[in-house]
Subunit: 736 residues, 2 copies
Amino acid sequence: MRFLALLLLVSAGAVFAADDDIVGFNASASTSQRALEEQLDSIINADEMDEWLRRMSAEPHHVGSLASKENAEFIAELFESWGYDTEIVGYEILLPEPKTREIELVAPTSFTASLREETLAEDPSTAVRETLLQPYNAFSIDGEVEAELVFVNYGMPEDYEILERYGIDVTGKIAIAKYGRSWRGIKPKLAGEKGAIGTIIYSDPADDGYGAGDVYPKGPFKNDSGVQRGSVMDMPTYPGDVLTPGRGATERARRLKREDAPTITKIPVLPISYRDALPLLSAMGGEVVPQEWRGALPITYHLGPGPAKVRLKAEFDWNMVTAYNVIARLEGSEYPDEWVIRGNHHDGWNHGASDPLSGQVAMLAEAKAVARLAAAGHRPLRTIIYGAWDAEEPGLIGSTEWAEDHADELKEHAVAYLNTDGSARGFLGIGGSHVLERYLNQVADDVNDPRADISLKERSRANRMITGDEKSRSEAKNRKDLRISPLGSGSDYTPFLQHLGIASVNVGFGGEASDGSYHTLYDTYEHFTKFKDPGLTYGATLAKVTGRATLRLANAPRLPFDFKGLADNVALYVTELEELANGMRDKTMAENQLIKDGTYAVAMNPYTTFGPPLAKDPVPHFNFAPLKNALSRLQEAAEAFDAAAAENDAATEEVNKLLYTSERLLTREAGLDGRPWYKHHIYAPGFYTGYGVKTIPGVREAIEQREYDKVGPQIDIAAEVLNDLADRITTLTDML
Amino acid sequence: MRFLALLLLVSAGAVFAADDDIVGFNASASTSQRALEEQLDSIINADEMDEWLRRMSAEPHHVGSLASKENAEFIAELFESWGYDTEIVGYEILLPEPKTREIELVAPTSFTASLREETLAEDPSTAVRETLLQPYNAFSIDGEVEAELVFVNYGMPEDYEILERYGIDVTGKIAIAKYGRSWRGIKPKLAGEKGAIGTIIYSDPADDGYGAGDVYPKGPFKNDSGVQRGSVMDMPTYPGDVLTPGRGATERARRLKREDAPTITKIPVLPISYRDALPLLSAMGGEVVPQEWRGALPITYHLGPGPAKVRLKAEFDWNMVTAYNVIARLEGSEYPDEWVIRGNHHDGWNHGASDPLSGQVAMLAEAKAVARLAAAGHRPLRTIIYGAWDAEEPGLIGSTEWAEDHADELKEHAVAYLNTDGSARGFLGIGGSHVLERYLNQVADDVNDPRADISLKERSRANRMITGDEKSRSEAKNRKDLRISPLGSGSDYTPFLQHLGIASVNVGFGGEASDGSYHTLYDTYEHFTKFKDPGLTYGATLAKVTGRATLRLANAPRLPFDFKGLADNVALYVTELEELANGMRDKTMAENQLIKDGTYAVAMNPYTTFGPPLAKDPVPHFNFAPLKNALSRLQEAAEAFDAAAAENDAATEEVNKLLYTSERLLTREAGLDGRPWYKHHIYAPGFYTGYGVKTIPGVREAIEQREYDKVGPQIDIAAEVLNDLADRITTLTDML
């Protein structure tokens, strides 16, 4: 269509492939697009963002609170004032709020945990009491238990293997676990599976308290009363409203009974500060913990069980509340049925200045600029939909319910989903679907770091070259595009990517402002603007990044999907899977031999209870051929498409639709084994890590969890997925 | 001589090479020797050892104390009672004892360090006050200084590189360093070289306090008042009396003036407990320390400088005291001029139950058994000399003065030196000259672990197979002999091995009783027998090990020196040196490039003062050929000797003398560059690590310290040393 005429001007390989051109745009379109982006930059105003941040973080604004509703209304007003078709869409969700929280050491001494975060004179926001949401873990079951403590380190599967070697069983005990390493919901899930009857999670000062740096208010880290709140629902099974899996939680939706909701924990759990943890841990006996398990409290850590005995009581008000998503729409001028979706949640656990408002105000600044450009005659070609989600904190609920509610339309129309969340300062982190790797690299190369006179991409590259391990240093030096991270979970992209198969992106700044405010009372405007992004310099830069990301998707004549980058990353995962299996096989064989021949028994220290590990089933050889054959096809198809695309700028709606729905082919309606809500077969959050990604998860988790029978069938599914995509790419190539 | 007749009986390769035969013995001699060793075992009595330990550790017995003299007399009486020619040999040595010890925080708050270790009701030994030697670092210079503190981590060279990157200079400051990683004397030495005017050394609880395990008296680790004493003389320059380097400190020896003694520190230094360190470290400001530098105190550690300002005053009584070595001699029946020397010091910092008496009582038990066997008609063929050294703690003084005093005789007559020192329980650690590797492996294979029904050697192998890194696991699995460790310094073998070139050995048990009593008031009989070796089970086993080691050397028709083991280890060191140079070259080149092209500058966090490293001189290529050619010659000569030795059991005095003096060929009279006292060119303590060994030290330290001009000449010296040894081995082969 409009590009047809240009073909005449173009020499081979130069239309889309020129280094300076934006992928999806030819040379002149690239020039106009970049000019537009300069105008976008000029509209973004850090002072205005700062003012929005101050206003929206003035009060605790968790889902269901008055302040949260007011924030939604404020956001809606802004969008409306800029010319967006705006609505506030409510979903009726189950939300537990704390009613009784008690943790008491009952033996060998007594102590009652305060479970209270202190007000600081230096930060007026922390004076709030009435509307403060007390520290708790959302979607813990109600319960009262009393038992001896067992220290389970971070509460990960490998921690329980160590405990077994000490002969320690958590059955009938209360597990006390450190925050960190895994998503918090894994800790009570695994403790419960192992037989524990309750879980206490605390933040060790080694991780984000005085061991990491000066504590608030002197520095940004966790003081001794700070407690991380957070959801413990079983999100790796499904996120969103616990009563309406796979369906939008509309008023009249069919609902599970609460007692049947599988994502509520099986045992009660409460989070505590290190001030409250100290007397509990001090009262423990048993073996001294392994060296790597030690924290920074001034005590010797012991494994238990007991003699410390604790009573834990957790009761919640299980309310139905309304989650208010703000949905703002700017109809595309040429392709209104192709939707670029851009989101960031607005609910916080309390003031939520960093999480999520630092990202929210960047999205608002972007949206304002996009609207101003549209009003000035630069209306985007495709429809842009902004989503300011509610109820992300308790379990990605607002975004999930909306995505489930609109699943069919979204699968039909959604080009991509672009997400942000809390953001600070440092390096631009980019996660996403690898079909978008090249496009994201270009975006990051077109925006400069606000402190260093260099593009964000090149600063990230420099960082990888200095701090990366050998492999990533070498790659940073030699690979033109910086590798983007595959997405696990932890923010609102999950329903779009992993449930609906919409190519997704998540970006934000970090690495130069680590702190301990996350999900505490201390995530305030004062803390954020003092320590995490003073002047919102990086926040404004984030708006420039996401503004480009949104507008390029909205305006690209041909959507900037690139299959070579995807194939290159999938090749890496396939290699990793083989190495994983081989490594586990060798290690299992060697270890079983050392167990069998008595080497372990002889080498163990007879003065401790720490014994040899248990022998494990040998790891068989798996037939990776179907996956590798499919990968080869994918690689060839991607090469062919790339070559054809360089020669030809066909950009029909049909081509674009086949491009943006290509990510759908990576999903299967049946979903992953044991968790059908997760349909993507390349990216998923780990079943036993939570946020951490598992790539080619069906195969990877079958190997890791030693479910050897499942490996072959999962390889077949993954191969089928890749073959389907290869077919699609070939179809696309033929259309160019 | 006596072996000549046997030749007729022997088939090729079977005389000395049979697996069951003891190296140096033929089959029937092996059988008799092993029978003798069984008798030896039956004489060793753990209860008696326990009683000696209790008696000698009843009072603090540092050099110069009455108790130390009484212990020397007690030891001499025992030897005499068993039939040894015994004398107490005194040396007049300079010994500083603390007069004034003051550490005071003068800004921004004030605090005076107690510098006092507490008496514990649970351990009556700790009630001692009058004869207690207060915590200090021997051979600190006198001084009073006041300055801001800088936290220098462990005070190693690499720590100062990090400080430089933070723009921190210790000039004019007081360095506060953690105990550990390096020998303590390195800390004030390096701090002084960098311009600091004083040093404070403290024991961080992460290393051997509550961070490591329960503290004394509940557990074996350091409680908050415990202070590690210890020498800070510049032992890597020379050990022994600071006034008489290279000469025995006899009454009439020529002496340096104290102000000219180069091994006394240049700046004052005092050691403190973590209780005393806490207020000092808490008062520090500046940047937060790097993550790897953190300790376990419940604070955020800062680098300084200041605002914490400290006044440090250290004054000593510089007394001349007598160090009493006990020398006990059992004349050999056949080769009285070939001396097997066996030593362990007797002085402690205080009660010294573990260090050194646990080793001392094992030596006494061994000596008693050897004497009893001799009295029963099994007098050893060679002369055995037992040395119970005094004044090891302040700087290996007793042994060094004796070795220097008798240098010429020792070079002529000493077959080998066998050392022990404090020993606990766990695995048998073996360090030594690699000509003795095979012999030591046999000894360790002929004694069983007292807990596990397996030989000490095989238990060590099992431990390496479980806990070693990949390389050492594979080696433990595949190498018949366990690799023994090269010796650096830290106990009395140093003058024998590194000054005189006498093949040396150091053995002891450890790894299953780590603790924090080292050099504190809490190294008592109560502590030792509760936590480190209850019932002296491992102590008695140690006596069986060293008894075998002593008797096999004393009785072997042909001395059990093996050159293949040596050549194999030297080959490893040569490979390491090339890898070291290559690794440094690659790293320097890569890092210089990243500095030059600005990658470092761009990647650094602009919110900290931590900057890029300084560029370093490129590492040239070195000519390793002379060393590798010499190694090849050594390997060939060793092979030829081994083959010849298997065929032939010639064991003349001439052969034996050429065997035991072969280690002398590894020395050079000129000594190492800058430290002529150290004459061995294969083993030396690191100039900047102290106890840690540097193999082929001339070459290795020239590379590590980037003194590139020195590498070539040092390679030539090392090659010459190996060539000389190869010549000697060839001569020996020709004599067989």
